[in-house]
Symmetry: C2
Subunit: 362 residues, 2 copies
């Protein structure tokens, strides 16, 4: 554990509820993105937990996941105590997920700090992240604010919400904490370009830090149905019934955009949510021809006049590309995807078609 | 057997020596194109033999193949007598192949007619082909000429030699027999276009008809080394040694371009040598989106804005194409090819790279 990040009462909450259809056919209903080794090596969730374990002991790492994925979580994370795997009967977006985790942590330690992260993001280098978390713990340690991390935009993304930051309130060991002027829903490209040019805008990455009592107070104020439904679950209440009545809503809309005590800590080191196949270059370096290949152990890419291609295979096959540019090529045991990089979002249309025509491939 | 094509002394010679690297990865060193079900259904060689069996009994169908492929020929053609499979120790192009077959047939019947065809072409409808063969047998039945079939060009192909035909010598039941003015080596596209515009030019398809004594006489005159080497093989001579000293040369260059008794019978029905992946549309109809898919029995093509694509799989996998046009996509057990249709000839460059880097994929 990292000496300067270890807080005496810090919990990590890993949100692992994603279904990951954008990585079809490598991600399946039975293997969402967080269980894929997208960044190389182990599954993303395993890497995320490893990052957390540098800051908190495993007993204080909680994973919130879909009930039907709980067994996979246990397999991917053999070290995690079973009582730290929180099982959602069905996905209700991040607000109920965060409420569930906060109520569980409150039963252990009401004033515990939390760092809340999605299971399927890449954030590097670790030391920079630990410094950010430490600053967040310092800033939010007295329970009077909610921290969201803001990613410095590297391109005019239309797939993220933005945070417009205000004045710099403080710095902790060189890490600034900014006021939040407003949250902005996913913009069009021109608007996004304007944000980057004007500066002071950050991507809203879904990474949060707060004291448990602070987020519970905010939930009570802005999303009371979640607390009403989930409080005392397990001691007489049934979680399935509690979830069935809950709205599906992200924490940003339910709480962050409503609360007046939100502050942002910008991060300008490497972050990626690896949202779809076209994001693979964010986590894998290109070869000499500018192609990005993630192959089976004895797999091979043979290239003839091809560049900018993203290739993913899971077996020891050879992939031969002739004269193709900026193409995504994915081969799995029983499926094959060919798609230009700029159509990566349309993989979900394939998933939709398969739901109708051949769900055996989902 | 077809009543009007059955000649009392007609033999069919099927040349099955191709290595078929242009259909990598579906064709392999161990499974050249003639053993692939390229036109659907059974292997091309099986379909070719079936076509011949409409004209001659199986006892008069000879297959010339590479010695190392003889076992595959026997498997593909269980009905063929073993003595009708002629095994070439190594490939020496078509002239030695034709000499070997002619010498074998001569031992059975010196004046037998022959129809000589490659194992890996599609020619339809059968009745039209039988009518052509019947006319060829009539024309060449007295042993004074060599017949080559000329395919009426459908586009300015640069991959075939051409035959410039001369006057119409005769017609047999409506089938014309033309004189040959000259053979032309593979032309450039502009020249080929000129051939089509001027008319009277035909593709040289490698389909021949002649009497056995006529081709042997022509070989004796124009390619005597083949007869000297191969005559009496098996009765004291060793075929391996005989082949080792032979030149590798096509029959067109060795004999047809030299002989003065060559005549051409044009065919204007459907013919394809399915030379590479881009020729698959010549033997498979497009689907409603203009894509050509040959899939495993329970395989599936899912299309989103893709057209003109050629897809070949051999298992029950799903292939998803998003926004790709005129692309060749081939998936086999341990290989994947993605290549634009107009680069299909470059598949052989992949084969060359694999010879160096990973021959296990050949």
């Amino acid at each position: 554990m990292n000496e300067y990040t270890s807080q005496p009462d810090l919990y990590a909450v890993i949100m692992a509820g994603g279904s990951g259809t954008r990585f079809w056919p490598a991600s399946r209903a039975s293997r969402p993105k967080q269980f894929m080794p997208i960044a190389g090596g182990s599954a993303m969730i395993t890497q995320t937990v490893a990052r957390m374990e540098e800051m908190v002991p495993i007993e204080r790492v909680l994973v919130v996941t879909a009930a039907h994925q709980a067994e996979q979580v246990r397999e991917a994370l053999p070290g995690i105590p079973d009582e730290n795997i929180l099982r959602e009967p069905e996905s209700r977006n991040t607000a109920p997920c965060i409420a569930l985790a906060a109520l569980e942590i409150a039963r252990r330690s009401e004033q515990a700090m939390q760092i809340v992260v999605p299971a399927d993001q890449v954030i590097e280098p670790p030391d920079s992240f630990y410094a950010t978390v430490k600053a967040a713990c310092t800033e939010a340690g007295d329970g009077d604010c909610l921290i969201t991390l803001g990613i410095k935009p590297t391109f005019p993304a239309t797939g993220y919400g933005y945070i417009q930051a205000g004045e710099t309130l403080r710095t902790h060991d060189g890490t600034p904490v900014l006021a939040v002027d407003r949250f902005v829903e996913k913009p069009d490209e021109e608007t996004a370009r304007g944000f980057i040019e004007s500066g002071g805008y950050f991507w809203n990455a879904g990474i949060f830090a707060w004291r448990t009592d602070a987020i519970l107070a905010a939930l009570n104020q802005h999303f009371p149905e979640a607390i009403a439904a989930l409080d005392n679950v397990g001691t007489g209440k049934d979680l399935d019934a509690a979830y069935a009545g809950l709205s599906s809503v992200p924490i940003d809309i339910a709480v962050m955009e409503q609360a007046d005590n939100v502050r942002v800590i910008p991060i300008d080191y490497r972050w990626s949510d690896v949202g779809a196949w076209d994001a693979l270059p964010e986590v894998h370096p290109p070869d000499a021809d500018g192609n990005y290949a993630v192959l089976g152990q004895d797999g091979l890419l043979i290239n003839e006049d091809s560049k900018g291609c993203i290739t993913w295979t899971e077996d020891d096959s050879v992939v031969a590309l002739i004269g193709v540019e900026d193409m995504i090529v994915v081969r799995t045991e029983n499926a094959l995807l060919v798609c230009p990089r700029d159509r990566a979002q349309d993989v979900k249309k394939i998933v939709e078609q398969l739901k109708q025509k051949a769900p055996r491939f989902l």
